[in-house]
Amino acid sequence: MTDIYLGADRATDAEAAAVDEALRDRGVDAVVQPETERLYTSGRSRRLERRHYLLPALHALQNAVGWISPGGINYVAEVLGVPPAEAFGVATFYDLFRTEPPDHDGDTFHVCVDAACQIAGYDDLVASVRASGGHVHLGSCLGQCERAPALFVQGTGGRPDYVPADAEPFELPQAGDPSLRLLRRIGVADPESLESYRAHGGYEALQRAGEMGADAVLEAVAASGLSGRGGAAFPTGVKWRAVAAETGRPKHVVANCDESEPGTFKDRIVMEHDPFAVIESMTIAGLATGAQNGWIYIRGEYPLATARLQGAIDAARAAGLLGPDAAGTGHDFDIAIWRGAGAYICGEETALFNSLEGFRGEPRNKPPFPTTHGLFGEPTAINNPETLLNVLDIILDGPDDYRTRGTERSPGTKLLCLSGQVGRPGLYEVPFGTTLGELLELAGGVAGTGEFQAVLMGGAAGSFVGPDSLDLPLTLEDTRAAGTTLGSGVVMAFDSSVDMTDVVVRIAEFFRDESCGQCVPCRVGAVRQHETLVQMQKRGSLSPSRRALIDEMAEVMVDASICGLGHTAASAVRSALSLGLIASAPS
């Protein structure tokens, strides 16, 4: 790195103090990285140094003074050795950071405008926040779709972030159901107590894993047929074995807790109410893959989950369950938490690595894959928390028992996020193979008019299905064959009263807002797709040539985009058109 040129602006004392404190905190808690040249971004290598502290430092500035000022950027640039132009490029990537002085005092009230909150009427929430003098920022899904409309309050002046709804008592809709596996401790064990977690079987799996040894753990995970729950359904055993096979370089386990797919809130509930399970299963992943560095990348809008995970990490470390010779397994493993700052794309695994490393959250071209070139260019097992949770039972009860639930090709149970117009929205756990109709029944059936119009499966990146899909078994293979997806487990119901055009136009706008902008098919395609649908909405119809254009745009986004965001940006739109949910005939 060359000497860094800084402009004349200097940080205020408050800004400098906030950054210093954030770094001091990290100095104690962060996984220590050797300062060698091994950072790798889309083929570019850079000296790592302290660049990965950029995101925590920017959060500190934003929280202290309500924006990221030129002086603040210069301070961070100097302390971390990041060129100011690049630090600015990173700051402007995220929704939770402002790079202009705030035009209001006090906190920022983030209100979600995505589908579940659209039909729950977010306008009323906006009006009431404004009436009490709060500054409103409208944005993408906040991961609270079961309690829509959703609100997240971003603190300033050093005040913490919070979610008003977190103060409400929590109960699972299936509370007390003995068939619950992944959710069985939720609402039962105290999420803030290691003793309580242990009293409910916690840390037995890690101990068993330590006795079994890495190879046997890998074997069990592979034999269970567990596949990823983050959306792509990649076999976890294959991924872990690939990382385990890498030698000679530091390795990482990353829990992808960015959960930003509209309609998804399962990881939040797990992290808030069973945080030790995330920590324990990550430790098992570390043992199995030989990785010593654990990272939790969590979306910035989840303050309670972040606090509970941090509490769990601290308690586990104090009890010797993290750190050198974690839990007496002979394996060193520790975990650090990095907060995202409002960017759906940072849930894409390679964008997540770049974001954590202090670069813009732009996905990398694959190959190479994370198992060989992941975080800091090093071998990395990245998993969704729900995926990780499954490992506990696989270790404790064995893969054969695990396979008694679900189907041959989709073994186990699945967490499903029920939202929209269902009787009892919330988080559900059912064995794979349960039909969509049975699930909706379990959730109290279609609410509102009681007449079922459509279900959005898999979120904005998924697709709509109609009433003829009630018999669809919820498995990877059946949903794929039906041309839809389970994705991240979104099941959002719409009754007959909903104007689906509003919903679909917003989905298109979501992709326009959330595209990272790196590649042409998605950067421009997402905008043109949204514009075409807005035109349709204004005219009340879609001409045949515009209808064809939507397919042409979809084709290039699917074929030539860099990442899954572009690949799926047209999927819900096209399913809505082919189901006739939105205007299709010229008038």
Binding site: G43, N365, E514, V520, V524, E531, D559
Partner: protein
Amino acid sequence: MTGAATMTETAVTITVDGQPVEVAEGSTIHAACVQAGIDTPTLCWAENLTPVNVCRVCVVELEGSRALVPSCSRPAEEGMVVQTDTPRVRHSRRMVLEFLGSGVDLSQAEDLHDWMEAYGADPDRYSDEEHPVERVDEPVKVQDELYIRDYSKCVLCYKCVEACGDDAQHTFAIAVAGRGFDARISTEFDVTLPDSACVYCGNCVGVCPTGALQFKTEYDLREVGEWRPEDQTVTRTVCSYCGVGCNLELHVQDERIVKVTSPSDHSVTSGHLCIKGRFGWQYVHGE
């Protein structure tokens, strides 16, 4: 870099449009296409820069891959079967060019014009009178006498960022800021170049494929309709400011130097220069 294997390198053989092509291990599919004489459009790729594979105009069909792959960055592997002229490839290339043209001013992106014609790109079909589409529309930044920045011509190929950063200059004066369609090349807080880290090496200007970055001399001549590349002569010389020996190409119109470039295949410079070589000629004219 051409892909031809020498005796000492390991070679891999891939099939491009039915034709076997042998290239050195580590070469890209694009290099194999070049070697096979198959013309392939590129925009964000350059010989002297690390591939960022963002524009996607170079995509090809690779057997066994669900999506198309960027030929400019994907290494050729033994036995790969590649198609460069299928309906899918043509469609994606056409749409990429069309998308670009629908959002920014490509009038000076001369390299793209033939490709747009070849693939039948019609950037105007997205908008009509009633429904104009969003375009990048920004005032030209004229902040000094050396070069201008006109981001309404910028295709976000990242070349200038790479040239200013890791790949040549190591100054890091500019980066991509913002997200999605609002992403722009920018200094910190959009400060002017004189207030930024910029050292006026002009390497960014040298790599810009669209005229978004332009020598002020060229910009001024274009403004008055006097930019006439056909009347220009190009003279190669060696820069005399220091002992490094950078090759310069002086572009002369009406007996005045109007811009300075450097050959990208030159062993010393790889196409990159410093302020003296790039802009020192201004003093020749006593400006």
